[in-house]
């Protein structure tokens, strides 16, 4: 690979940098909802990927609807789709908490089984309603193509969009969890449900809304991913392991840890990938994770409290 100019090389470097950042934002967006549900509430939600898929399908439905009924609104529908995905996934999450999760707070590991069952059911529902084939919504034109700061650098607009969205959602989550009194209730409840009730927190409501919020954020992630990949009934299962990895590796209860972990994984993967095959890059990235967890057994940003 000798014949390229210095300028080309810098362009490639810039673009490769963006590949890492873009993977980072994807991972982080996937993980944010789980950081709340798993990191804060301790619920091992194996159906988290399906909630993402739910958001993606919502976006797809809305795009079909807009296209047939209000074609002139196509350029704008995506914003509504994000909100709708949040709401739909959030509402389903709310119901899930009510029907299932609230009975299991004393047995956190059992949430793994119940939500695994839930994920099977949701997958089958997607298949029944939308068929086995993958779908992808028609995207507004402004989301396609790329931004060219110079004539040899192409920064994909969908990647920038996801990055922007991730930033917004991250700040919102940070504010909600660490700066609002609601967040204080959430954190108290998840640390000691009984005692939180005894200081006046309506823990049932907090639980339900927290779970719904986490699922809603998964829905947003799902909506965002329709700009990158297609959605099928089993799409969710593709994401779930990575998502858990990001959250756990960061130190389950730390939002900052989740961010740092998504960043580390994304950069390791994308840098390695440029030099070796993607499967070996993945293996090396994962091995690095394991070694780092050996050094920091409770994740990158463990919140250490004496026991």
């Amino acid at each position: 690979m000798g014949d390229f100019t210095f300028q080309e090389l810098t362009s490639i470097l810039a673009m490769q940098g963006f590949v890492g950042i873009s993977l980072f934002s994807v991972l982080l967006l996937m993980a944010l909802g789980l950081a709340i549900i798993f990191g804060q509430m301790g619920v091992i939600n194996m159906a988290h990927g399906e909630f993402m898929a739910l958001g993606a399908y919502t976006t797809y439905m809305l795009s079909m609807f807009t296209r047939t009924h209000y074609p002139e609104l196509m350029p704008y529908y995506f914003f509504f789709a994000i909100i709708a995905s949040f709401l739909v996934a959030g509402i389903v999450g709310y119901l899930t908490e009510f029907a299932l999760i609230r009975h299991l707070y004393k047995r956190p590991l059992d949430t793994l089984l119940a939500t695994w069952g839930l994920s099977l059911i949701m997958q089958q529902m997607f298949r029944t309603f939308f068929g086995s084939r993958e779908v992808s919504p028609a995207l507004p034109d402004w989301l396609m193509g790329s931004w060219m700061p110079t004539d040899s650098i192409f920064i994909p607009i969908n990647g920038m969009f996801v990055l922007g969205l991730t930033t917004v959602v991250t700040f919102a989550v940070y504010y909600l969890m660490y700066r609002s009194s609601w967040g204080l209730n959430v954190r108290a409840t998840t640390q000691n449900r009984v005692m939180s009730g005894a200081v006046g927190i309506n823990t049932k409501q907090v639980d339900r809304l927290t779970f719904a919020l986490g699922c809603g954020i998964a829905g947003i992630a799902g909506a965002a991913f329709t700009t990158i990949a297609s959605t099928g009934p089993t799409t969710g299962s593709l994401y779930i392991v990575d998502t858990f990895m990001v959250v756990v590796f960061g130190g389950a209860a730390s939002l900052f840890g989740t961010i740092a972990s998504a960043f580390t994984i994304a950069q390791a993967q994308s840098i390695l990938e440029f030099f070796i095959s993607s499967s070996m890059a993945k293996v090396l990235t994962l091995l690095t994770l394991i070694i780092i967890l050996m050094i920091r057994p409770e994740g990158l940003f463990a919140s250490k409290v004496r026991k």
Partner: protein
């Protein structure tokens, strides 16, 4: 009757005086359901049509459907069930090579017959399998010859999903490019199945500036792959891309706008203009809805029941050995195949045309090249192993 059961079924298959039972074995659930749905629908359509036209040796075909669930062990288990428990006279099914490899010993041990519809890597020829899709050389060599000739391609970038079919296909492609076409392979990359991050590979493509991207990315990854290509400014205006694995099914997810102007090499496109295909498309849409699309594998799957019918009728028997025997005569043929005309080669594969389609925005392809004659299947190509 004309064909007494005792005569047409000497090996205890599930054949009665008026029915014959067959199995359909595809993934209805799991990641592969996406691809296998169409195949499974086409097989059912063919069986329905055969039944409507009087069945086979005077018997109606009864179908047992099993779900392979995208899981190879399950495929093997279900194949065993179909053969041992249900004693089906034939099985139509499988999509991935992995699932075929998993069921192959079962079919060989219990002497069943499998009609396998997917384009695949070759290097296999089982007595108990009829391959109705193309093997690697049929698809690849013609395709590469065409880009070399038409586009004057010299440098090639190979990319595929990480499993046996793309890897074998690329191996053949590389040999052909380097030794026959005198070109150069400037990159060869594989992505795990289902992966959606192609940014790094795209950057590498940009570095190497190949004349042709030659792709065998499978399933859901395709959407990410083409969307990201497009967003990176690589499109048919500035890049030739030929893929082995995009059919109308995948286009549905990818979106025509992301694919416009790129090429697929296949034996079948829905847009093929011939009376057989017109009738087939019409019947398919009547059965499964106006919006349904038909891809290469779907069509190949449709051939399965018809080829089986032809063989059974020629043999005058449902016995597997007799079917295999007549299949090996090289005389089983279908004038009514949607792809035009097919004939079964003694090596269990089909003679077929190879076509190159250029994708349009509406998700259909325009055939820009068709091999002048049927291409002989050659699962063990000399010099390409």
């Amino acid at each position: 009757t004309e064909f007494p059961t005792a005569e047409v079924n000497t090996t205890g298959l599930a054949v009665t005086d008026d029915t014959v039972t067959v199995g359909i074995l595809h993934s209805l659930t799991g990641t592969m359901a996406i691809s296998e749905t169409g195949a499974q629908e086409a097989e059912r359509l063919a069986i329905k049509q055969i039944n409507e036209s009087g069945g086979i040796l005077g018997r109606q075909i009864r179908v047992i459907r099993e779900d392979g669930a995208s899981d190879w062990p399950t495929f093997a288990e279900k194949a065993r069930k179909l053969l041992i428990n249900d004693k089906v006279a034939a099985v139509f099914g499988c999509w991935t090579s992995a699932s075929r490899k998993a069921v192959l010993p079962v079919f060989e041990q219990h002497n069943g017959i499998l009609y396998y519809p997917t384009f695949y890597e070759g290097l296999e020829q089982s007595k108990n399998v009829i391959y109705t899709g193309q093997e690697a050389t049929q698809q690849i060599l013609a395709g590469l010859d065409w880009v070399a000739e038409e586009k004057g391609a010299k440098t090639y970038f190979l990319i595929g999903s990480d499993y046996i079919w793309p890897r074998t296909s690329m191996k053949i492609a590389r040999i052909h490019i380097e030794q026959v076409l005198g070109g150069r392979v400037v990159g060869e990359e594989y992505k795990p199945l289902g992966d959606t991050q192609f940014g790094s590979i795209i950057n590498r493509i940009r570095l190497r500036k190949p004349d042709v991207i030659f792709a065998a990315v499978v399933g859901g990854s395709n959407v990410a792959w083409f969307r990201q290509l497009n967003a990176a400014g690589i499109n048919s205006d500035n890049q030739t891309l030929l893929t082995l694995s995009v059919t109308e099914d995948e286009v549905l997810g990818i979106g025509g706008e992301n694919l416009e102007g790129f090429y697929s090499v296949m034996k079948y496109f829905q847009s093929l203009d011939n009376p057989n295909n017109k009738a087939f498309v019409e019947a398919f849409k009547a059965e499964y809805g106006e919006d349904s699309v038909i891809g290469d594998v779907t069509q190949a799957a449709y051939l399965g029941p018809w080829l089986w019918k032809a063989a059974v009728e020629k043999a005058g028997s449902f016995d597997i050995d007799k079917i295999v025997e007549v299949s090996r005569t090289g005389e089983i043929e279908l004038d009514t195949a949607p792809e035009g005309y097919v004939r079964l080669h003694p090596n269990h594969h089909l003679w077929s045309y190879t076509r190159i389609g250029k994708w349009n925005r509406d998700g259909q392809a325009t055939v820009v090249y068709e091999s002048p004659e049927l291409i002989e299947p050659n699962p063990f190509p000399e010099g390409y192993q």
